[in-house]
């Protein structure tokens, strides 16, 4: 049994689940809004309460998203030759034959890119959402409405991808967002650069 190392702190974990939870509520209620799903709305107590859920979740989402910046933005913005190599190897997802991937930092290249995209999409979603909610300007509202809907579609793609990659596709990864601890060996293999940087041996 390998030594366990702390991959994620409490703040990071709690914030992740706030983001994830609000995102799911937003997605679910958003789906019901777009397609007038009375059954889904009933879960929230009808459409008017569902709007309250959606708006409050929107606030949580926006705040959470902002807080992720402290955890992930600096690392996501640091790219090196290893990232290019990682990308050229398709992150190892494209073949059954697993080859050695270049060592990765706290986030691997795919996670970094995913984070940046998520941050951008979330920002658009939040901004447009708040515009619809709080601004009366007809032109801005309609534009925001369109952006909100369009990025809703993107989220419909991004959310399952994230879930799949964080669970089935990468067994063991979910632990980071549960206990925050992973075996050192596991970490070394997947986040070698991070392990070195942290001086974990």
């Amino acid at each position: 049994m390998s030594r366990m190392v702390k991959k994620a702190g409490a703040f990071e974990i709690v914030n992740h689940w706030m983001l994830a939870g609000s995102c799911l509520v937003l997605a679910l209620s958003g789906f019901a809004f777009v397609f007038h799903l009375d059954g889904v709305a009933a879960l929230f107590g009808g459409f008017p309460p569902m709007r309250a859920w959606h708006n409050i979740s929107g606030v949580v989402f926006a705040v959470s998203l902002f807080l992720t910046v402290f955890s992930y933005l600096p690392v996501s913005l640091s790219f090196s030759a290893d990232d290019m190599k990682w990308l050229s190897m398709g992150g190892g997802y494209l073949s059954r034959n697993k080859k050695e991937l270049p060592p990765q930092d706290k986030l691997n290249t795919g996670q970094k890119l995913y984070y940046l995209v998520l941050l951008g999409m979330g920002a658009v979603m939040s901004a447009s959402g708040f515009t619809i909610w709080l601004l009366g300007n007809k032109g801005l509202v309609l534009l925001s409405y369109f952006a909100h809907n369009l990025f809703f579609v993107f989220f419909m793609v991004a959310i399952p991808v994230h879930i799949y990659l964080g669970t089935f596709a990468n067994p063991g990864t979910l632990r980071i967002m549960l206990s925050g601890k992973v075996p050192l060996d596991w970490a070394r293999r997947r986040y070698g650069k991070w392990v070195s940087r942290m001086g974990l041996g």
Partner: protein, 254 residues
């Protein structure tokens, strides 16, 4: 039921505003505190407590120093209603049997998107931000009555009836411009004009908002995107499999 309509004939309107009071009475709407702004016209705009109003316009005339026009203003009850398309709530705005665009405040979520979507800018909201606009007296018309404003109108400036018949009658009476006849899937409120609608301050070329139109066309992409991604993930799992180094074990209890 054939599509019904409200025919507004400003040539017959005398600006008595019985329609405004009758509407308030029937719909139990509160008064709005106003001031005289140097015109007979009041309130200055439609509000959630003023489903209709008469616009007073003084325009130049060939014969006299001026013309004084009285033009009823209210929701147009579009055949292709952007408000209904944009509304996120199921049943908050719905199409009545007579073609009117009717609201259900109990289902309205107060997002005001309909207000932004309305090509005419004629949708207003109550104190609780719920949609509050002309519904052609849905409760009355369902019971076989005419809308309260029509019932009150002493001059025949407001008529309610079969849309095609009203349109034909107006044309036969020499009203060459039937505003709203073809706009937005044909509006449920028609205006009979002898001059250009512009003279009466009507919106020129009302257009369905492109954003709403475009989104309506592609919104099923949301289902598609979700479905496709889930399917692709499953396929990936089965075909390529999880990202697992050799010898690595995953134990549930870890």
């Amino acid at each position: 039921m054939a599509r019904m309509a409200l025919l507004v004939s400003p040539e017959l309107c005398i600006g008595c505003r019985g329609c405004q009071s009758a509407c308030k009475e029937w719909n139990g709407l509160p008064a709005v505190k106003t001031v005289n702004r140097g015109t007979f016209e009041n309130p200055p705009d439609l509000t959630g407590a003023d489903y209709n109003r008469i616009r007073f316009m003084e325009v130049p005339s060939a014969q006299d120093a001026q013309r004084w026009l009285f033009v009823s203003q209210r929701c147009m009850h579009c055949g292709d209603a952007a408000c209904m398309k944009i509304c996120p709530s199921s049943g908050a705005l719905f199409r009545a049997k007579n073609g009117a665009v009717v609201f259900d405040k109990g289902k309205c979520i107060g997002c005001k998107l309909c207000g932004s979507a309305c090509p005419y800018g004629l949708i207003r909201f109550d104190q609780a931000n719920k949609v509050s606009k002309c519904h052609l007296c849905h409760d009355r018309t369902e019971a076989g009555l005419t809308p309260a404003c029509v019932k009150t109108c002493p001059s025949g400036a407001l008529k309610y009836g079969d849309r095609d018949k009203l349109a034909a009658e107006a044309s036969a009476a020499g009203y060459s411009n039937l505003y709203g006849e073809a706009d937005l899937g044909g509006t449920g409120v028609l205006y009979a004009f002898k001059d250009s609608p512009k003279v009466y301050g009507m919106l020129q070329n009302p257009a369905f908002p492109a954003e709403v139109h475009f989104w309506s066309g592609i919104k099923s992409l949301a289902y598609l995107g979700l479905g496709a991604t889930v399917a692709a993930s499953a396929l990936h799992y089965l075909v390529i499999g999880p990202h697992k180094e050799e010898g690595e074990e995953v134990k549930k209890d870890e």
